[in-house]
Subunit: 289 residues, 2 copies
Amino acid sequence: MKIGFIGTGIMGRPMALNLIKAGHELLTWGRRFDTVEPLLVAGAMGKGTPAEVAASAEICFTVVSGTSDVEQVILGERGLVHGVKPGSVIVDMSTIAPSATRRIAAQLEVRGVDMLDAPVSGGQAGATQGTLSIMAGGKTEVFERVKPLFEIMGKNIVHVGDHGAGQVVKACNQIVVSLTLQGVAEAILLARKNGVDPTKMREALLDGYAGSKILEVHGLRMMNADYKPGFKVKLHHKDLGIVLDNASENHVPLPGTAIVAQQIEALMEAGDAELDSAAIMLALERLAG
Amino acid sequence: MKIGFIGTGIMGRPMALNLIKAGHELLTWGRRFDTVEPLLVAGAMGKGTPAEVAASAEICFTVVSGTSDVEQVILGERGLVHGVKPGSVIVDMSTIAPSATRRIAAQLEVRGVDMLDAPVSGGQAGATQGTLSIMAGGKTEVFERVKPLFEIMGKNIVHVGDHGAGQVVKACNQIVVSLTLQGVAEAILLARKNGVDPTKMREALLDGYAGSKILEVHGLRMMNADYKPGFKVKLHHKDLGIVLDNASENHVPLPGTAIVAQQIEALMEAGDAELDSAAIMLALERLAG
C-alpha cells in the first residue's frame, strides 16, 4: 500500500522502517534531510511538501512532537490537507491535546477525509521491535481499515472510542506512569535513608501488588542513576501539560499528578530536559538534600 | 516441627492452616476463642497464654495488627518472652514500625532469642494460596533456618537485610502500592470525565509501561465500585502512618505518599475504614464532586 509517513524522530523512524520492511511503499517528507535520509536509504520516496506526500498516499501517518507541530503538518500552508484525497485517512500517532485532535478531525471530515488519533506507549524499544501499545480513537470502520498497519508497528492495539479517545487514554497512561515513577522513586529514597539496599527492595516487591513495568525497568534506571533517554523529561513535561490542561477543562482534580508535574518542572528548571524521565528520582534526591 | 502461631485474623489464619497442612505441629493462643477455633479444628493445640505457646515451640510466628499488639504479644505480661527458650526464634510477620522491630529484636537478643521481621504482601488471596511475598530482616543464618517455613506460606521470599529491613521494605511496598492506586484512580476519573470507557483505557494500558498488578486487580475493583475487602482502608491508614513516621524520623520527603495519605484520612473520616483500599477511587470521586 502507498503510505505517507511524516515524523522521523526517535519514535517515528523505527515505526516507518517497520512499515517498509513489511513491504509497503512509503512516501515521506521532513524539515531536515538528515532525519529523512535513513528512510530514503531503506527505500522510501522523498517528497517536497506534506501536501505532495498526501497526494500520492492512501493512508498518512504523522508522528511529531506537540499539538502545534501536528496542526502545522496537517493543516498548515503546505500541509497534508492541501493534497489529501477524499476517502483517504490521516492517522496522528503523536501525543497531543484531545480537544485539538477533535478539532482537526472535524476540519478533515468536511473535506471527506477520515482521521484517527492513535498515540502510542512503549518507547523507542517498542517502536523498534514493533511492540508498541496503540490506543486509537475514531470511527470503527476507519480503525479496522488501518488496523493491519497498526499490527506492523504494535502489539496491544485497542480501539478505545471516538475522536480524541486515543489521546484521552494516552493522557491516562501518562498519569499512571507518572505516579508509578513517583512511587518507585519515593520507595528507593526511603530504603536508602534507612540503610536498606534498594536492589533487595525491588527484588522483594516485583512479584507482589507493588509489581509494575515501571518498577522493573525504571526502578533499575533510578538505582543506577542511569538517565540516558529513553523518554525525555521535556516530553514528559509536554505530556503532563496536556493532562493538566484537559483536567482543568473538564474540572477534574488530579492531586497526585500535580505533585509529579511539580517534580518535572523542577527538572526542566535545573536544565535536565534531555534526561530520561526516570530522573524524577533525581528531583526527589535534590528535594531531600 | 513444633511451631507457635499467634494471630489468626484475615491473614494469619490461612497462613497457619498452610503450616498445619504441611505437617507441622501448631501451638496457638488467641484473645477470642472463635478466631482460634478453625486452627484447633484443623489440629492445632490451644494454649492458655503466649508464654505457654513459646515454651513448647522452636519457632514462633506473630501475625497481628499494629506495633502495640506485637509488643503486647511478645513483651507483654504473659507474652512470648516469658516462655521462650534460648536458641529459639520469634518471627514477626505483622507490619509495624522498623524502629519498634529493632527495639524488640534487641530485647530478645539479650535473652538469647533470635528475631526476624518478615512482613508480607499479597493479601488474603496470597495467604490462602501460599503465594505471599515475604520480605525478611534479621541475621542470615536465622533467615535460612526459618526459610523452609516461609516457603510454605509464600512464593517470593527475600532476605532484605538486618533487623528492621523487612519492615522498611514493607513500607516501600506500601509507598509504591499507594501511588499506583492513586495513579489508576486519577486515570479512571479523567477517562470518565472525558466520556471515555475506563474498561477500554485499562485494556489499552495493561501491556505497556503503565501496566501493573494494581491496574489489573484494583483497577477492576475501582471501575466496578467493588470495595469489599481485601485490604482494608484502616490497615492502609495504619501502614501509611508507619511510612510517614519513619520518613519523618529519617528526614525523607515523600510528597506523593503524603497526598495519598490525605485521601486515606478523608476515607477514615467518612466512616469508610472497613472498605478495601481501592476506595481511594471513592475519595477522589468525592473530591471531584
